[in-house]
């Protein structure tokens, strides 16, 4: 067990992040647990509003107060709880130990600074380097992320680069200080498909080369299949299924995961008419169901699902699922229904 702990670069324990609005409290992240091992990749999957981005922002403590607040939990990074750190300590961790790539490469760079200046800046925030050395390092980083003629590119402004190039610059910025953990918040969502593959390859190669641990937030199961070792599926602020990638893809247990996988078009399958979808939409965060949060869209829903929230239960194969179907209560209820009729 201690060996496992040593290998854990990040452990999120019972993280609860809420937003306080006029209409009431919104529990964007509600009791999330997961961990990332050194050099490994964890994927967080879910649709919009499932709390995956808020989870990543919470890890860096970038939730804008007073509207949002981390209400409960622990974020243990290399054995230390980040929630107990001072603002100054957090600043020295951001970018240096944990850094982040954002979704929109078009808006994630400062339009008034050259790419070189922006990379150099993130280096100079954390390392005592001269202007010239930082600039050299910036060129080196651009080379590393596969930008051709980096000497020319460092002097260019973001608007002169394509989306894929900008995402490469973002990656260069994020990796400039050689962080132990890289959080990639939908790194390929805003890019077209050919560029997506290039960027994913780049991230994977750099991860191997630099030994960085990776947390990928995405709603694209293709990205998950390609990049991740472990996957957490989130729905309405809670993890509904947490397992290694192979189990998730070949033997999903939660109806939501199954629905997600079914809705991915497959080239080896013929569809007449529409693709299968998960019917309905995410419930309003102000008015979450009392029981299982997926109940309104679940094809198997029973009374117990409406009334009680299931716990995250570990299955025989190590897969963790939050669903009544995989508990004893489910069979009991089936028997009850059978005897009643």
């Amino acid at each position: 067990m201690s060996d496992l702990n040593k290998n854990k670069i990040l452990e999120v324990k019972n993280l609860c992040t809420s937003f306080f609005t006029d209409e009431g409290e919104v529990k964007a992240v509600d009791g999330v647990n997961f961990f990332i091992e050194k050099g490994k990749t964890v994927g967080i999957v879910g649709e919009s509003g499932s709390g995956k981005s808020i989870t990543s922002l919470s890890i860096l403590r970038l939730i804008q107060e007073p509207a949002g607040k981390i209400v409960n939990g622990e974020i243990v990074f290399k054995g230390e709880n980040l929630l107990e750190k001072s603002k100054k300590e957090m600043r020295s961790i951001r970018g240096n130990n944990i850094s982040m790539i954002f979704q929109e490469p078009m808006t994630s760079l400062n339009p008034t600074m050259t790419c070189g200046e922006q990379i150099a800046e993130s280096i100079r925030i954390h390392q005592k380097l001269g202007r010239k050395e930082a600039k050299e390092k910036a060129i080196e980083m651009l080379k590393l992320v596969g930008i051709p003629s980096p000497e020319k590119r460092v002097k260019q402004y973001p608007f002169e680069l394509s989306g894929g190039m900008r995402q490469r610059v973002m990656i260069a910025i994020a990796l400039a200080c050689n962080p132990e953990l890289l959080i990639a918040d939908e790194p390929t969502t805003a890019l077209d498909v050919t560029i997506q593959a290039q960027i994913l390859d780049l991230i994977r190669n750099l991860q191997k080369e630099l030994g960085t641990s990776l947390m990928i937030i995405t709603h694209d199961l293709g990205v998950v299949a390609e990049m991740c070792e472990t996957v957490a599926v989130m729905y309405c602020g809670k993890i509904v299924e947490y397992a290694d990638v192979k189990t998730i893809l070949t033997n999903p247990k939660h109806p939501y995961t199954i629905g997600l996988l079914n809705s991915v078009p497959r080239h080896d399958q013929v569809y007449d008419g529409d693709l299968p979808v998960i019917k309905g939409s995410v419930p309003s965060p102000f008015n979450l169901p009392k029981g299982c949060r997926f109940v309104s869209r679940c094809p198997h829903a029973k009374d117990i699902c409406h009334n009680q929230l299931p716990e995250l239960k570990t299955m025989d194969d190590g897969n963790q699922v939050r669903c009544w179907i995989h508990t004893e209560s489910w069979e009991k209820q089936e028997e009850e229904v059978a005897s009643n009729s």
Binding site: P66, R94, G95, F102, L109, N110, P111, E121, I125
Partner: protein, 299 residues
């Protein structure tokens, strides 16, 4: 050997220059297409040059009194005539432009610096800091401009320096408001989050990443504000609370000629015209700048 060394340098400068130039060029292109802006700029820069050269080109000493030549109309000797004390009006206008432009530019600059800092702090930090700063600005804005300047000058005492201070104080809330609004919108952009995620401290985010992105509204507002600062300064002087005689200030000259407006209208006419010209010039130039700096304007 020498050629080999030169080669890459030549390459870089070739690839490099058009890029930086292109932004500046497109700005200049937009600005020069706007005829009104060019007219405004011409007026503004001509008067600035005249103000700088005033000691060299003014035909007479602006404060030299010659009672034998009082109330003279425009002539070859005194192009714009003389006033009630026989002083040359052209010379007084030329020297007066130094005072008026200095008051206009310095007060705007001072007000803009304070206003920008307050606005950016209010917009960036929000919460109670925002409330306190913006409520003070609201109170200042609730006063009619001239009344506030009058009040401040009457507390500090009438002089050119105090006029600058009074107008600067009045400029603060205007700039603070604009900057706060721009800060609020820039602060929400993803790149600010990205920089924060890199571990940047607030002061760096504010001055290196937010300020450069809100300069255009500040520049435009400053240009337009200089015009109203000049008017306010003239008004204060007209009321005897600004620049004190015998210093030639446009407002003072107006006030001075007021008593003789029936007999010698040129004493008030020319300073009035110059004020009008400069204010229109700054306004046209400011509007042109706004159109050229606004990425959404197509023309």
């Amino acid at each position: 050997m020498g050629q080999q060394h030169l080669q890459p340098n030549v390459n870089i400068s070739l690839n490099d220059k058009p890029v930086r130039k292109s932004r500046w060029l497109s700005f200049m292109k937009k600005l020069t297409k706007n005829k009104a802006a060019i007219a405004g700029a011409t007026v503004v820069f001509t008067i600035m040059i005249l103000a700088i050269l005033a000691p060299l080109i003014a035909p007479y000493d602006p404060t030299h009194i010659d009672m034998s030549k009082k109330f003279q109309g425009p002539s070859s000797e005194h192009w714009l005539g003389t006033d009630d004390k026989g002083r040359d009006i052209l010379s007084r206008l030329l020297f007066g432009s130094r005072i008026s432009l200095t008051v206009g530019i310095l007060s705007t600059l001072l007000g803009a610096i304070v206003g920008v800092v307050l606005g950016i702090v209010a917009g960036y930090y929000g919460k109670w800091i925002d409330s306190v700063i913006m409520r003070i600005c609201d109170v200042l804005l609730a006063f009619p401009g001239l009344l506030l300047a009058l009040a401040i000058v009457s507390i500090l005492g009438p002089s050119t320096t105090n006029t600058i201070i009074a107008i600067a104080i009045f400029a603060v809330p205007t700039f603070a408001r604009i900057v706060r609004g721009s800060t609020l919108s820039v602060k929400k952009l993803e790149y600010v989050d990205a920089i924060r995620a890199m571990g940047s401290r607030d002061t760096r985010i504010i001055f290196k990443h937010i300020l450069p992105n809100i300069t255009s509204p500040i520049i435009v507002q400053a240009t337009l504000y200089i015009a109203s600062a000049i008017i306010t300064a003239s008004a204060l002087s007209f009321l005897g609370l600004g620049t004190q005689p015998p210093d030639p200030e446009w407002g003072t000259m107006l006030s001075n000629g007021r008593s003789y407006i029936a007999q010698a209208p040129h004493i008030t006419l020319f300073p009035g015209l110059v004020i009008l010209l400069v204010v229109v010039g700054f306004n046209l130039f400011g509007d042109g700048l706004r159109d050229a700096l606004d990425p959404k304007s197509k023309k």
